[in-house]
Subunit: 228 residues, 2 copies
């Protein structure tokens, strides 16, 4: 009985994976806006109603793809952090930043799905938050270590932003100085700005050696959050 259930569960997982894989192919070919359960079903030789046994709606399939993308990026960042071992924090920062860029270049359509234009008519549920937070937590961890071990330079912060920074720090990283947390959020957005510009074509005819350019910009961002 448990064997039967195990087989059933395994089969279900395999079909679920196949559906998501086909959906990702569609994402690449047509974009998230045109993702359709019917097309996915057709590609798998299933009938559209059968797909609804696995994903109750198109939006649920989209949500699964988004969560998977965030998790995949988060895993890549964590792997880079772990591979950097106990290297100096600036090196670990650089390694994770490179991993983010590398993942984005390897998965451009999934990157566009999570960091590009919102999908019209779709709003991501709160369910996606933990997966989305993973990359950010990796950066926070590096700063936390640096803060304990070697100390961090504390970035400047105007009085106007003090309450906001304290709120953010309380929410995200109570162990870090509020100035550092505020600077980190900004650096986080800016880092992804670099990746998005490269991926979305804004660097065409502007930046040629993009790897070197990104490496340097990411290193300067590390300085900006107080790493040294």
């Amino acid at each position: 009985m448990s064997t039967a259930q195990g087989a059933r569960a395994r089969a279900r997982q395999e079909v679920t994976a196949a559906i998501k894989e086909a959906a990702r192919r569609q994402l690449a070919a047509e974009g998230a806006a045109k993702l359709s359960l019917r097309a996915v079903a057709r590609e798998l030789g299933m009938v559209s109603s059968a797909v609804y046994r696995y994903f109750p709606s198109r939006d649920d399939l989209l949500t699964a793809l988004i969560t998977d993308a965030y998790d995949s990026l988060g895993a890549a960042a964590e792997k880079a952090r772990d591979a950097a071992g106990d290297a100096p924090p600036t090196d670990r920062w650089a390694a994770v930043a490179e991993a983010v860029r590398g993942w984005a270049l390897a998965h451009p359509h999934e990157y566009a799905l999570i960091y590009g234009s919102p999908v019209p008519g779709y709003s991501a549920p709160e369910t996606t938050v933990p997966a989305a937070a993973r990359v950010g937590l990796v950066f926070i961890g590096i700063l936390r270590d640096a803060h304990q071990d070697r100390g961090l330079a504390e970035p400047s912060l105007p009085a106007e932003l003090r309450p906001e920074a304290e709120r953010m720090a309380a929410d995200l990283a109570p162990e870090l100085p509020p100035q550092v947390v505020a600077a980190l959020i900004a650096a986080w957005a800016q880092l992804f700005g670099l990746v998005s510009f490269e991926l979305f074509g804004q660097f065409t005819n502007v930046v040629e050696d993009r790897a070197a350019f990104f490496r340097h910009a990411a290193a300067r961002l590390a300085e900006g959050v107080g790493l040294r």
Copy 2:
């Protein structure tokens, strides 16, 4: 005769504008991927083939929307620069940055069109380059003035990036030191990273006072390019 031509030309311009307006509405409602000439024609009470007198293809209509969006943003940036008069360069930088953010918040779908995910199956022609360059040129102008008047701090630059920076400077702003140009390109991408994160929802539950947060981050970016 010239009156008749003028009337015809005016009529043509009006229809062209109406088509683009309807297309922008569709952009907001359905996204660029689903922009359809037929739906635009229907909304205007035209027949689809008539639209082809104004735009030879769907992609040409998209290109026109993209160019218009870049021009609209560029005009907003230029207006902010002009309104800032001869204020100190850091203030002018801040004014233009605010204008970029303000334009993006006021035109989220057009922002997504030009700085968000690429439209599947569409590749922007070279024609869009001049319009796309306008915002960047405003920032370059501010730095040029600052360089002449007060001098700029020269950002650091690793030897590895020296050739790239010199190439970029030669292409974009020969009158500026290569280090400044390289830093400016990075700041440009990072500034739009901040705007994109806010607009695309990454700051949800993270940053509350987004105006103040942006203001401070933009000011720090100005420091990063050497303004003081």
